[in-house]
Amino acid sequence: MSSSTDSPTLTTETTQLSPQPDTETAKPTKKITLKSSDNQIFEVEESVAMEFATVKSFFEDSPSTDTVPLPNVTAKPLSQVIEFCKEQIKFKANPDEAQKKKYNAEFVTEKSDKDLVDMIPVANYLEIKDLLDVLNQAVADRIENKSVEYVRSFFGIDNDFTAEEEAALRREHAWAYEGVDED
């Protein structure tokens, strides 16, 4: 108990007394190397990598390694996920719900449909719950009030129903197909 209450006081004192050598004394932040399935190397700060529960538990098991292979993850979604987590760390240090919400909203609006869908399994594999929530909601919002055909093209789905089967399904809830947005 005492150590946890003492240490913050100590740090504030040091910064007050010597604001200058801050950069010299600061520990060089540890870098962690992530390797995507297409053999691209990403160097990220340890704090960012620890946002990925999967990477974190990897280090808990084998603390000596410095390169983490991510065989299920390609470079593009990974770089976007890293970008998201970097921002989340800033909000962790400096909680501002309104700013965080704004950032999360902007993060998804500027992404293409494909980018969003590609990121979902990555966020799931790396166990980044916040990102997964943001992505799922964003995708749900994008198919809100859209036609069946739109949903198919959005996710690249091949229709495996026969025409009769599909017609029967549509008849069952005919009301739900009225008044959808233009594709």
């Binding site: 399935s37 999967t54 538990s57 990897f58 280090f59 808990e60 098991d61 084998s62 603390p63 390694t65 292979p69 065989p71 299920n72 869908v117 590609d118 979902i120 399994p121 799931n124 594999y125 997964l132 799922n136 909601q137 995708v139 749900a140 198919i143 809100e144 009030n145 859209k146 036609s147 069946v148 949903v151 198919r152 996710f155 690249g156 789905i157 091949d158 229709n159 495996d160 129903f161 599909e166 399904l169 549509r170 809830h173 005919a174 009301w175 739900a176 197909y177 959808v180």
Partner: protein, 532 residues
């Protein structure tokens, strides 16, 4: 003699303290702690449980499992339900649940295959003993890790389908093999062209009912995922209060079915309000006020109070400790008497409030509890707000909803209803066979706005309390259901905002002929067992 004593004080040295608690003679906190604490024998398997990088939750669960102390069904006092939750056949014990069950054992086989381990499933105590003695560190790690993952997941109460569990464990095992075997093992690389079903469900469960239905037509996989997370809400039922006798009828407008129940508990009482499945009733002869759940027949009494014909409502189920009962009566146009009470109170609290704007309460309940406040609509359409926490009363400076001139016909004051939806206050104005008008309070601007659509919502209006619902089946959407009684065998009439008409049409809907205490919309029971 003197020399035989080994203690020889030397005069040329200063006295000093020496700590005999450890070899170096230096006192440290850890050596003091080791000195104080009681030591027990070293146990088997400690290195497996408490190594340098444990995940505490997993270690703890594994420790319990190693002692056979997880709370499986066979360890619980309740003797009635002892079968395994996964297969529903055998008794749930450690051995069965984690290994022998026909749900668990295929997972184990798959894990050992993927981890390239030779491992014969044995009863749990033997497995544990063998693992403790095993020197093959890698096997040990992999087994322990997968056991941890499994136990961790199950302990949290999550019972994912076998495939998810398998993926979880397989991932851990994969990670292991990658590092320990220097990536010699070729990894199964997944492609993401199709979203895994469990991720798909996470997206689909965020959709509204109609979006869910449309998504379910995309393909067969999506169909089953969408149906598994689809939520269709139940419509409220109309409860009928008989003029004589104890037989109460309940009408379900979605199924067009009628049920009946004998409820002698309600003898001599009149209904005042309903919310969350509870009725609030008043017995004029004894001034008794009480809550009643018609499906469980549970009664919650309130202190006696003389309720004249005045508006009354309550905030939530009387079983909740935040439940407040509220009633208001105008003493003069600028003074109201507000009485409140709560379950467990010994008396009602009545306070008179002065309002700046006139407030004459209607005798039929136009009252809702919303965002922590009671909102009541006066006879002429002004809105009074009571804050039960601060005990403040205020008549808002919002001009009453504007109606066409022809709305002021016979009994114009009767056909008005008030409801609430997700924090929005809604008012329904009806007039004979004219189409009803629905207003929503624009709270930031403090004006009433007419609603041309309900966005799929359904309103259920009755004199004493009105309710809103979303995600109801197709034909009931975007409509208002009125509790009009027994029109050629119909129990209720509805107005569709899509079609701008009443069903059935062309009737003179004169509310004046309706007895307001005859029926009320009520939350349907969770199951129909009360009627069998």
């Amino acid at each position: 003699m003197w020399n035989s004593i080994p203690f020889l004080p030397s005069n040329h040295l200063h006295d000093s303290y020496v700590w005999s608690g450890n070899a170096s003679g230096q006192c440290t906190i850890s050596s003091v702690w080791k000195h104080f604490r009681a030591n027990s024998d070293k146990v088997d398997g400690d290195g497996l449980l408490w190594h340098a990088w444990p995940i505490p939750r997993f270690s703890f669960v594994l420790w319990l499992a190693s002692r056979g102390r997880l709370r499986t069904m066979d360890k619980l006092h309740n003797n009635s339900q002892r079968t395994c939750i996964l297969c529903n056949e055998h008794e749930e014990t450690h051995c069965h649940l984690f290994f022998a069950c026909n749900y668990s054992s295929p997972i184990w086989q798959e894990i050992s295959a993927r981890a390239q381990m030779v491992w014969n499933p044995a009863p749990w105590p033997q497995t544990w003993a063998a693992t403790v003695q095993s020197n093959a560190q890698q096997t040990k790690d992999a087994i322990i890790h997968s056991i941890r993952e499994r136990l961790g997941g199950i302990d949290e109460g999550i019972r994912p389908p076998g495939s998810i569990l398998l993926r979880l464990t397989a991932r851990v095992v994969n990670d292991k093999t990658t590092t320990t075997k220097n990536k010699k093992v070729k990894l199964e690389t997944q492609t993401w062209s199709d979203l895994p079903i469990e991720l798909l469900e996470l997206i689909l469960c965020r959709l509204s009912l109609e979006d869910n239905i449309r998504s379910s037509v995309a393909c067969k996989r999506w169909n089953s995922a969408a149906i598994s997370v689809r939520v269709v809400n139940q419509s409220p039922w109309l409860m009928y209060f008989p003029k004589f006798g104890n037989m109460y009828e309940f009408y379900d407008p979605a199924q067009r079915k009628t049920y009946s129940l004998e409820l002698p508990e309600l003898y001599g009482s009149r209904v005042c309000y309903t919310r969350d499945g509870w009725l609030l009733l008043y017995r004029p002869r004894t001034n008794r006020v009480f809550f009643f759940d018609p499906f469980s027949q549970e009664v919650v009494k309130l202190p006696r109070f003389e309720l004249t014909y005045q508006i009354v409502a309550f905030s939530c189920a009387p079983t909740s400790n935040t439940c407040v009962v509220f009633t208001v009566r105008h003493v003069s146009p600028t003074i109201v008497a507000i009485s409140t009470c709560h379950p467990g109170a010994t008396e009602w609290v009545t306070v008179n409030y002065q309002n700046r704007l006139p407030f004459v309460s209607s005798i039929w309940n136009k009252i809702v509890f919303c965002n922590g406040f009671f909102y009541c609509l006066s006879l002429t359409g002004w809105l009074g707000v009571f804050d039960p926490m601060e005990r403040t009363w205020n008549v808002l400076a919002v001009p009453p909803p504007k109606c066409p001139e022809n709305f002021f016909a016979k009994n114009w004051w009767k056909g008005k209803f008030m409801s609430e939806h997700n924090g929005d206050i809604l008012v329904i104005y009806t007039c004979c066979s004219e189409n009803p008008i629905i207003f929503k309070l624009d709270q930031p601007k403090m004006v009433w706005r007419e609603m041309k659509t309900l966005d799929g919502m359904t309103l259920f209006a009755s004199f004493l309390s009105s309710h809103s619902r979303t995600d109801l089946p197709g034909m009931m959407r975007n409509s208002v259901y009125f509790s009009k009684v027994r029109f050629f065998g119909k129990r209720c009439i509805s107005y569709s905002l899509d079609d701008c008409r009443y069903y059935p049409c062309k009737q003179s809907y004169d509310w004046g002929e309706q007895d307001p205490f005859e029926n009320i919309w009520i939350e349907p029971p969770e199951d129909l067992s009360a009627f069998i």
